[in-house]
C-alpha cells in the first residue's frame, strides 16, 4: 500500500502565460533532483508537466494569458504527484487523445508525451470550477518511455489511466 500522506508539499501558482513555463520547469527539475529521480527521467517528467500546462493555456483558457494555474507537488517516499488545477473551460475527456504517430503533422504530441512519461494520468472534472489533472511518477518503475526505464519501457507498456 502506498502511503497516503506526502512527506512534503510544494505549491506554485503561476500566470497562464508561456513566459513562465520556464519557472514551472525549474521547479520540477529541482524537486526531481531533491527526490533523486534518475537524471534521465527528470527531463521527461518536466516535459510531461509542461505539455499539461501548455494544454491548459490553449484549451482551458483559450490562450488567455491572464489566468492562474496552480501546481501542487506532493513528494512521497516512492513517487512524485503533481496536480495541475485550472479554473477555465472543463476538459472534455473524450477529446483528450494523442494523434497517431504515423500521421506526421505539427501538433498532437503533448498528450502522447504525458501518457508515455507519467505512470498515472487522471483528469478530474468534479471541482465546481475547472479541471484537476493528476500526474504521478514513481521513483522506480518500468513501463514508461523514459530513457533507461527498463525493458517494459520505450516500446510502450500499458499505463494506468482513469478519467
Amino acid at each position: 500500500m502506498p502511503e497516503k500522506k506526502p512527506q512534503h508539499t510544494i505549491d506554485l501558482t503561476v500566470p497562464s502565460h508561456p513566459q513562465f513555463l520556464c519557472v514551472t520547469r525549474a521547479v520540477i527539475f529541482q524537486v526531481c533532483h531533491c527526490m533523486r529521480f534518475p537524471e534521465k527521467f527528470v527531463n521527461c517528467i518536466a516535459l510531461a508537466v509542461e505539455e499539461a500546462f501548455t494544454n491548459i493555456i490553449k484549451y482551458s483558457y483559450g490562450n488567455d494569458y491572464k489566468k492562474k494555474v496552480v501546481l501542487v507537488l506532493n513528494l512521497y517516499k516512492d513517487r512524485l504527484e503533481i496536480v495541475l488545477k485550472d479554473f477555465g473551460k472543463k476538459v472534455d475527456v473524450k477529446m483528450i487523445k494523442p494523434r497517431a504517430l504515423e500521421d506526421v503533422r505539427p501538433g498532437g504530441l503533448g498528450v502522447y508525451f504525458i501518457k508515455k512519461f507519467m505512470d498515472e494520468v487522471t483528469y478530474d472534472v468534479s471541482p465546481e470550477v475547472g479541471t484537476e489533472l493528476r500526474l504521478v511518477k514513481y521513483l522506480e518503475k518500468g513501463g514508461c518511455a523514459c530513457p533507461g526505464a527498463g525493458k517494459a519501457g520505450a516500446g510502450g507498456g500499458k499505463k494506468k489511466e482513469r478519467s
Partner: protein, 108 residues
C-alpha cells in the same frame, strides 16, 4: 529567451539555436524559419548543440517547416542533438522523419 544565430555552410542556411525551446520561445524560431522556408529549394539546418530542452511546440515548429520546405523542393536537417533532445524525437518517432546529423560539419 532564445538566441538564433544564422550562418552559411556548404549551401545550407544554419540556424544555431541557443536556449530552451518551449511554447514561449518557439514562435521566434517559427518566424525565422517561415521567411526562409518560402524560398524555392531552400536548405535549412537547425543546429541544436546549445539546446538542452525541447517541447512539442518545438517539434511542431520543425515539422511545419519541413512540410513547407518539401513543397518548394527544399530540405531541412537537424544537427547537434543532445541526448535528452534526441530522446524526445525518438519517442515521437520523428528521428526517422528528419535528417539528423551529429554536427553541422556533416552537412553536405
Amino acid at each position: 529567451m532564445i538566441k538564433i544565430d544564422v550562418s552559411e555552410k556548404n549551401g545550407w542556411a544554419v540556424l544555431a539555436v541557443d536556449g530552451q525551446i518551449d511554447l514561449h520561445t518557439s514562435p521566434d524560431i517559427r518566424k525565422e524559419l517561415a521567411g526562409r522556408a518560402k524560398a524555392k529549394k531552400a536548405r535549412i539546418a537547425i543546429d541544436l548543440t546549445r539546446v538542452s530542452y525541447i517541447d512539442s511546440s518545438g517539434l511542431a515548429t520543425f515539422i511545419e517547416a519541413m512540410q513547407k520546405l518539401k513543397k518548394g523542393g527544399g530540405e531541412i536537417a537537424l544537427c547537434g542533438l543532445s541526448e535528452s533532445v534526441r530522446h524526445v524525437f525518438e519517442v515521437a518517432r520523428l528521428d526517422s522523419i528528419f535528417a539528423i546529423h551529429a554536427s553541422s560539419d556533416d552537412l553536405k
